[in-house]
Symmetry: C2
Subunit: 389 residues, 2 copies
């Protein structure tokens, strides 16, 4: 198995009503990534697209071949990966195998989602396909209602209140405020969080991520290509771990709904592959789709005891200069959650952190990062470990 490096990134500003078709959003991100890597496009022989809802909301499937063609790479190996909200990182996982296994020397991973042009009901229905249709979706459960169930269960089990989740949202918005690609580029305070509109009790507006459009791209390459493209002064960024862990889609099918076992499995596998432990992690770019998922992820990934995740970071531990920064560029809450693109934004943002190019959002001295992208309420969990080499 060969070493794999992340050598270039591209991100479009997350937005509403992008006004251009998804293919051009994707092309924009890919052009940026090629430019960033300083790589001629003829070095690329694989493109994996991560997307969840293009068929349902924009009548376009087969995005892999389509996007390859749009960016001038007609002919190369291309396909699309879907695993709901974790489609972006799943695409990265396939491309990682493509390079690590020696099938390709350089591959593009492109996450793309365009959804805001659709009606609210259509968006909600499309998102609900991430859940188990027979056991949840057809009973009227939405993504928000399922997370509300989890949050309520957690609050009852551990005797915590809605106010205990506030710092996750506040931190994310603090960081998104200085990220020009963020969708909600604004800070919020405790009162704003507490007084925000109730979506499904106890999930409030600022517990949930905004619906937006976006595309991001990263380029993965073998060592030879990475060294040839290396920019002076920037460290090489190695993809030291890449793993998928899964769980039941339906919450009720799980032995313990407050244990995200997909997160635990996925983290364990990625750590083992990278030869690191939680103590080595300088930042955790987690899937903060809902504040309850942040709490449960911190626990299942091993950074907090069970039932204590919600309290993690109240002393500033999760801030940019804390012990374990999270949502460093705004996370899903503030940067936004363009579903199939989110996992690729996370990888691009972490690349910025590890190369010291995150500007106002820089985590000081960041060398090793855990990145986690989650499909559904924990059914598909994809972890990557990036390391400054």
């Amino acid at each position: 198995m060969r070493d794999v490096y992340l050598i270039g990134i591209g991100q479009t500003k997350t937005t509403k009503n992008a006004g251009i078709r998804g293919r051009y959003l994707a092309a924009d991100a890919i052009e940026q990534a090629l430019e960033s890597a300083g790589l001629e496009r003829d070095r690329i022989s694989m493109l994996v697209t991560g997307n969840m809802m293009s068929g349902m909301l924009t009548q376009q499937q087969q995005l892999g071949a389509l996007i390859a063609d749009v960016v001038g790479l007609r002919g190369i190996e291309a396909a699309t990966v879907e695993s709901a909200c974790s489609s972006g990182a799943a695409a990265a996982r396939w491309a990682f195998m493509g390079v690590a296994g020696g099938f390709h020397d350089a591959a593009i991973v492109c996450g793309i989602e365009r959804m805001t042009h659709a009606g609210r009901e259509d968006i909600t229905a499309a998102l609900a396909t991430a859940a188990d249709w027979e056991l949840e979706g057809c009973k009227g459960e939405s993504f928000i209602s399922l997370n509300a169930k989890l949050m309520k269960l957690y609050m009852e089990a551990y005797g915590v209140t809605a106010a205990d989740f506030a710092h996750f949202a506040i931190t994310a918005h603090d960081n998104g405020y200085t990220n020009p690609n963020a969708f909600l580029q604004k800070q919020i305070d405790f009162d704003t969080y507490m007084n925000s509109r109730m979506l499904v009790d106890p999930v409030k507006l600022f517990d949930a991520p905004p619906v937006c459009d976006g595309a991001a791209a990263v380029i993965l390459a073998c060592e030879d290509v990475a060294r040839a493209a290396a920019r002076s002064g920037l460290p090489l960024i190695k993809v030291a771990g890449s793993a998928i862990g899964t769980d039941s889609l339906a919450l009720a099918e799980r032995v313990d709904q407050l244990q995200l076992s997909g997160v635990a499995l996925s983290t364990k596998r990625a750590f083992a592959q990278a030869g690191v432990s939680k103590d080595d992690i300088d930042l955790f770019e987690l899937h903060d789709a809902y504040t309850i998922i942040t709490s449960l992820s911190l626990e299942a990934a091993g950074f907090a005891e069970k039932g204590r995740g919600v309290h993690f970071g109240k002393d500033g531990e999760i801030a940019l200069d804390g012990k374990l920064p999270i949502s460093t560029m705004g996370g899903l809450k503030s940067r936004g959650h363009p579903v199939g693109a989110t996992g690729v934004y996370q990888l691009a943002e972490t690349y910025m952190q590890l190369t010291g190019t995150a500007g106002a959002n820089q985590v000081p001295g960041a060398e090793v990062a855990l990145i986690q992208n989650i499909g559904g309420t924990g059914a598909t969990v994809i972890s990557h470990v990036l390391m400054a080499a």
Copy 2:
């Protein structure tokens, strides 16, 4: 890169209104595959699902994790691949990388499509997402109308008539007649073909594949697992080549619409990897979605001169005992075309041929096969070379 073997297969009978949800169709195919391989399920650590329309027609995404859970493999690496009608073979391509690259010792590939419960208009719209929406779909083009354009172009360019395509349909139905899993398990003659209903001139009913539900599964494994599971008397079946080639989605974007360059690229790559040439191929399980695609595939894959593909096999060359049998278990026409499952049916059927277990459909002495699955009108083309080792 490690050698990869195909060690077990499962197929449900293609059918209309399966009556059971897609997950159980998939589980049925997977249970058969595990049984066929004689493999304990705890040896499996990866499952890749191929599917095109589950989100659009059954409100269920994230099939990878879902199906893994349903078959008792909760936790393993799982995701879904989409490349329209070639989704099944694309899933096999990822699993191949997983095993060849040393990431997994045994992986399940499961193709699944359930569509017949939906209304005719919804099915047509869902299938049209395989085309370029901006350039074709939104102008009212359907899958049938695009193939009709190609067929008309071909007939005009080479001065052939509809009757020239008949032998492809007749041969497929001859073979499907003795395949218990086939959807249209019946023979047709020249008159039946010629008098069949006109769908979109010049595409008649028997130029096109039937809409049906189905699931198929194959298990890919490394040599150790394959040898341990080997059944006495059956040869090991090696996946000697695996490749994807792409083209523009839109026909009008191609330099020469009568040249399936994705087929040419994909075939060339798979042949190079397997170290074979067209003369080594004992059977070509091609993507006979439309008789025009059969003609063009035979040409682009190198078995016929340009403009001569339609005449290939008129002397019986494509029959089971011919020089290059095609559609050996009925092909997409007679076995049926459960879209995202088709590529996996093709692999399963070819396994039967190479292990000498194809019964009445046996191709005598078959040792090397080319299998080809196509998304859209040639946009994503996935080729595998299987070889009796």
